[in-house]
């Protein structure tokens, strides 16, 4: 009998149920879309922030102080310490290897560069003092577990813009900074002679691209690191390593000194991808290295990420609130309008509890159907937003589904509870007489 009454109610007033259901589905669609986007957005935005480049800098521990002005190191080649390039594949073996987006070692050598193609090649005006930056453009790293991984300055310095193409690894090719290329008249396809002392011994490189970076690299020659090592006489060594890693914004806990933590706290700290804990684990695989956090990048990123995340959560909260109120209002309306029916049921001897139970069952049924449709609708919308903005859709999450269904049920029950309570106090006779 119970089921029959419920089925009858749906069959008799299909348009009503459809409208209440539609309100529910739309409301829950808002909730799903907002919830999925804000759950997903943290990781996606963290990736976007990697367009700022490296957030960790590795230097030799025993290094002398760099004499760096405007991004150019004025130390001679034989001053300071170096680190072995052979250790680098170990970076992909640390606990946080999936968070490491890219890394590139750098070896800088002060040089003189001239272009044999330009006519007055050996006059001093054409010979440019410059620096040679040896690094990886797209280097294949063989990780100890046998897989390979391609990384280089494209990941760590994504704002570098190369006209032409990057040099091939281990070849005698180079990319010339835009200012230097104007100064010495070296164009793509030209040869370029570089020498690290005197004009008697030089290496001839083929210019394959022109680099513009907005920084000191605009006055430099960028070459494969093996070429720089050969010119500097430092085979297999590098001076600086830039690492770009996905991190979690640092909170008060992350800023504590790991030495003062208890064993439990230390475990929690090293199992969160804070930039400082990633620095700590890199230090363990690179002996003799000093790993520093580039605070300017890391802290700015953390602050903005925290803000944006909070902003989206609050927008989600506001959306949930509006959806809940509208859905609640809709279900309240559907109960209010059924006074006559409630009166009739009570007149036929139904207890208030039974009537309430019956109506609640109806509403719940509607909530599940509407919530389910709303979830599907919301997922489609979240996909659209995700693909349009980040080029990747958020994964549908089961947790969101349960939250949405629970929310739909809770909101409809709450919305109908008040009118139902009032309905239970109705005098059937008054209602049926139409008073």
């Amino acid at each position: 009998m119970f089921l029959r009454i419920v089925a009858d109610s749906f069959g008799r007033r299909p348009r009503h149920k459809l409208l209440t259901g539609a309100a529910l589905a739309l409301g829950m669609g808002v909730a799903t879309a907002a919830l999925s986007v804000s759950l997903d957005v943290g990781d996606r935005l963290a990736k976007e922030f990697r367009s700022l480049g490296a957030n960790l800098l590795v230097t030799p521990q025993a290094d002398s102080l760099p004499l760096e002005i405007g991004g150019v190191d004025y130390r001679p080649v034989n001053a300071g310490a170096y680190l072995p390039e052979a250790d680098l594949p170990k970076l992909k073996t640390i606990f946080w290897h999936n968070n490491i987006i890219g890394f590139s070692p750098v070896l800088e050598v002060p040089i003189e560069a001239w272009s044999p193609a330009s006519k007055s090649s050996l006059t001093s005006a054409v010979v440019g003092n410059s620096s040679l930056i040896g690094t990886w453009a797209q280097h294949k790293v063989t990780i100890p577990d046998g897989t390979t991984y391609v990384t280089g300055v494209r990941e760590t310095n994504p704002w570098w813009d190369v006209k032409g193409q990057w040099f091939g690894e281990d070849s005698l090719q180079c990319v010339v900074g835009v200012n230097l290329s104007k100064r010495i008249g070296a164009k793509i396809g030209d040869d370029l002679n570089v020498s690290s002392g005197g004009h008697t011994k030089w290496v001839t490189l083929k210019v394959v691209g022109v680099l513009s970076s907005g920084g000191s690299e605009d006055d430099a020659v960028v070459v494969p690191i093996s070429v720089a090592q050969q010119i500097a006489g430092k085979p297999g060594e590098y001076r600086k390593l830039y690492v770009s890693a996905l991190t979690k914004p640092e909170d008060a806990f992350a800023k504590r000194d790991p030495k003062s933590m208890s064993a439990d706290e230390f475990e929690r700290w090293s199992c969160s991808p804070y930039v400082s804990s990633i620095a700590h684990s890199i230090k363990q695989v690179l002996p003799g290295a000093d790993v520093r956090v580039i605070r300017r990048v890391a802290e700015g990123e953390g602050a903005i990420l925290t803000r944006v995340r909070m902003l989206l959560w609050l927008v989600t909260g506001a959306a949930l609130l509006a959806a809940a109120l509208a859905v609640g209002a809709s279900s309240a309306a559907s109960v209010i309008e059924r006074r006559t029916e409630i009166g009739l049921m009570k007149a036929l001897g139904a207890a208030s509890g039974t009537v309430g139970f019956l109506l609640a069952a109806e509403q719940l049924l509607l909530a599940f159907v509407g919530g389910g449709i709303g979830y599907a609708l919301g997922i489609v919308l979240a996909r659209l937003v995700g693909e349009k903005i980040f080029g990747a859709a958020p994964e549908p999450s089961l947790m969101v589904f349960f939250v949405i269904i629970a929310l739909a049920a809770g909101v409809t029950i709450l919305g109908s509870a008040l009118p139902l309570r009032r309905a239970s106090r109705y005098e059937p006779a008054l209602i049926l007489r139409g008073e």
Partner: protein
């Protein structure tokens, strides 16, 4: 004729009053749905405009994004700018101030008389009032100012790594020398920043000028320009136009990265807010239509006593518009508080209310309410008798 029109109008409003009074429960429900929609619309519209502006301020956490250099600056770094360049840099972009740091770099020998160690390091002379980058909190708390045991004199901020190598303590004095020039100052710690400051000593620009023998010259000016990517571009173009003798460059690492992130975040915000608004409108509409469909009895009765469908519909549309107005005003008022709360929670500053948002919200609410009442048109074909007999 006029009197009958007046009577008509009086009757019209009387019916409207009765319609509102007839069922307080229903009235409450409708106002709740409309008000909730309006509140969220007002708050989100307000926040959306405000958040984009605030985000550009947040980006200043990255520090300087524009740099002014001598023209054709070569690698030797020997070219300098006259100090007179500084006043010609505009200090405001819109309402937001442009932060500026002018500095002169010189390589000097640093000696710590206490530990007896010395090394070569880059000394950056900056105007202390203009130092733009943020020194870590411990630098100021450990600074020796005001402590009587400390010799008076100029202060220099010692980069974390120099401090380590020289074994300099807070408050001990260090000597900077370049050729015959000598400067003494009191060391204050800087901590580690991961940037070039770690390997530098920052001191007063005058001291650095004396050390370098370059009075009145500076190496570069760093600017922290707030604003959207487009505003920064036009600021750079304007500055370059004003100062043709220098080179104005964006620090592309930050300007480009910021532009990308800014576009993503503002796109995300617009999309989320758009979806939420559209769906909330539809949801309110569905709820309202549900209520409107219950008015069958009223429509039937009005038609039975001789109301034309046009007039009946006009009555209900007027009722809906009034409801929309009331709900919109209540919601917009709630939206003011909601957006103040949201702004405070996210940015620590209340979102500035934008007056245009509120009339727009009320108008949208009225439109939604009127559209929701339109399904009543379907009742035009209804025969009043069948309504009363309970058939329809």
């Amino acid at each position: 004729m006029t009197s009958s029109r007046a009577t008509n109008r009086a009757m019209f409003w009387r019916i409207i009053r009765r319609l509102f009074g007839a069922n307080p429960g229903r009235l409450f429900v409708m106002l709740l749905a409309l008000g909730a929609g309006a509140a969220v619309t007002a708050a989100l519209l307000n926040l959306q405009v405000d958040a984009k502006r605030r985000l550009t301020t947040e980006f200043r956490a990255f520090g300087a994004n524009v740099i002014v250099l001598p023209k054709h600056a070569s690698l030797s770094g020997s070219e300098t700018l006259p100090e007179s360049t500084i006043p010609s840099v505009p200090r405001n972009l819109g309402n937001a101030p442009v932060t500026m740091t002018a500095s002169l770099h010189v390589i000097a020998t640093v000696l710590s008389p206490q530990s007896g160690k010395s090394l070569s390091a880059v000394v950056a002379g900056k105007n202390p009032r203009l130092i733009g980058w943020v020194a870590p909190a411990n630098a100021t708390s450990l600074a020796p100012l005001g402590s009587p045991a400390i010799p008076a004199g100029p202060i220099c901020m010692v980069g974390g790594r120099i401090g380590e190598q020289l074994r300099v303590e807070q408050g001990s004095s260090i000597t900077l020398s370049n050729g015959d020039q000598k400067e003494t100052c009191v060391a204050a710690g800087l901590g580690e920043s991961g940037g070039p400051e770690d390997d530098q000593i920052v001191t007063d620009v005058r001291a650095a000028q004396r050390l370098a023998g370059l009075p009145g010259r500076i190496s570069l000016i760093e600017l922290t320009v707030p604003g959207s990517p487009g505003e920064i571009q036009s600021y750079i173009a304007d500055l370059q136009h004003r100062l043709p003798d220098v080179d104005v460059r964006p620090i592309r690492q930050f300007t480009e990265g910021e532009a990308k992130i800014y576009n993503r975040i503002s796109g995300l915000l617009t999309a989320t807010v758009g979806i939420v608004l559209v769906l909330t409108g539809l949801c309110v509409m569905a709820a309202m239509t549900n209520v409107a469909m219950e008015r069958k009895m009223d429509v039937g009765l009005m038609k039975a006593i001789g109301g034309s469908m046009r007039r009946v519909l006009r009555l209900f549309l007027a009722e809906a518009a009034l409801l929309g107005l009331a709900g919109g005003i209540i919601g917009a008022a709630a939206g003011i508080f909601l957006s103040i709360g949201l702004g405070k929670a996210v940015f620590g500053v209340a979102a500035r209310p934008r007056l245009i948002v509120y009339p727009v919200t009320v108008a949208i609410t009225i439109i939604v309410a009127i559209i929701s009442a339109f399904p009543l048109r379907r009742l035009a074909s209804i025969r009043p008798a069948s309504v009363f007999r309970g058939e329809a």
